[in-house]
């Protein structure tokens, strides 16, 4: 029983961040908007589009701290309470930064290999499958950390959309192929599913936890 309480408390604290569906909505909207931008970039060769694309994701991630806190202050904290998460130790932060850097370098090398090398159809397919698998790995990790079937479902959607896009690649126009290589199918499908999932969870959360009356 004691062991259960300790394990459940850890899980409970981790889950609380996504209990209201707001992170799903924010991340889903970010993916969907980035997918639209990528689709636009595949169709149109406007010189400014790559710059917008390059700045969009860092800005979206940076804004998340501010916007999610605002939304949580408005919707979540008055209903089910406020928490401040403990900061990870410095060594853990350094490990995370190192992992992210290594991952970015590997991704960059893969892009160079696929784009600048000899882009055979087999290489293109492999490359098109890589991004959905990365999405699935990250979402699957969150699912395992929080014991959340919802994030597991998002991970499954990432894999399925990637596989479906790769299977249809030969039948697509050059614009469609570029869009697949830019990850448009996985961004749009995971974004849409996260938006719907987040909205469903938020509505259920608001119904279960009505806002308490203001004290005069």
């Amino acid at each position: 029983m004691t062991k259960d309480i300790l394990r459940d408390a850890k899980l409970q604290v981790r889950r609380y961040w996504t209990e209201d569906g707001l992170p799903d909505l924010y991340i889903g909207l970010g993916f969907a908007l980035y997918g639209l931008l990528s689709w636009w970039a595949a169709k149109d060769e406007a010189a400014w589009l790559p710059f917008v694309q390059a700045f969009f994701l860092p800005a979206w991630i940076g804004l998340s701290v501010l916007l999610l806190r605002r939304f949580k202050e408005r919707f979540t904290y008055p209903r089910t309470g406020y928490v401040a998460y403990a900061r990870p130790p410095r060594r853990e932060t350094a490990r995370r930064v190192l992992t992210a850097t290594l991952f970015a370098v590997c991704l960059g090398l893969l892009v160079l290999w696929a784009v600048l090398g000899n882009p055979t159809p087999a290489r293109e397919r492999l490359f098109a499958l890589f991004l959905p698998l990365v999405f699935a790995a990250v979402l699957g990790f969150v699912a395992a950390q929080q014991g959340s079937w919802r994030y597991g479902f998002y991970a499954a959607v990432a894999v399925l959309s990637g596989v479906a896009a790769v299977l249809r690649m030969d039948a697509l126009s050059p614009v469609g192929r570029t869009a697949v290589l830019s990850g448009v199918p996985v961004l749009m499908s995971v974004g849409a599913v996260m938006l719907l999932g987040g909205l469903w969870v938020l509505l259920r959360y608001l119904r279960r936890h009505p806002r308490p009356e203001e004290t005069p």
Partner: protein, 95 residues
């Protein structure tokens, strides 16, 4: 039975163990969150928090957010140490 560890009675009560376990993962939490997470009644939670405060395991800060009263609870250094000792004792006992 002689191997049974000498457990801290303040932490060992299930409701207080739940509260301390939650707070050990956090920098701080408010009273509303602890109500939501533990499922205790207001009175029950207040009683358990008072016991933990008397043992200097938690510190309680009463403040306001806008016009709304806000009761913040955080684990003290002594509380973290006591919780870690409790965990180690339980781990050693359960194997």
């Amino acid at each position: 039975m002689s191997d049974f560890p000498d457990l801290d009675p303040i932490i060992h009560a299930p409701a207080r163990l739940h509260i301390v376990a939650l707070l050990s993962q956090l920098e701080e939490a408010d009273f509303t969150y602890l109500l939501h997470a533990t499922g205790l009644t207001r009175g029950n939670l207040s009683t358990h928090l008072s016991k933990l405060e008397q043992a200097a395991y938690v510190e309680i800060e009463k403040t306001y957010r806008g016009k709304r009263p806000l009761t913040l609870v955080r684990l003290t250094e002594a509380g973290r140490r006591a919780f870690e000792q409790y965990r180690q004792a339980m781990r050693a006992f359960l194997g």
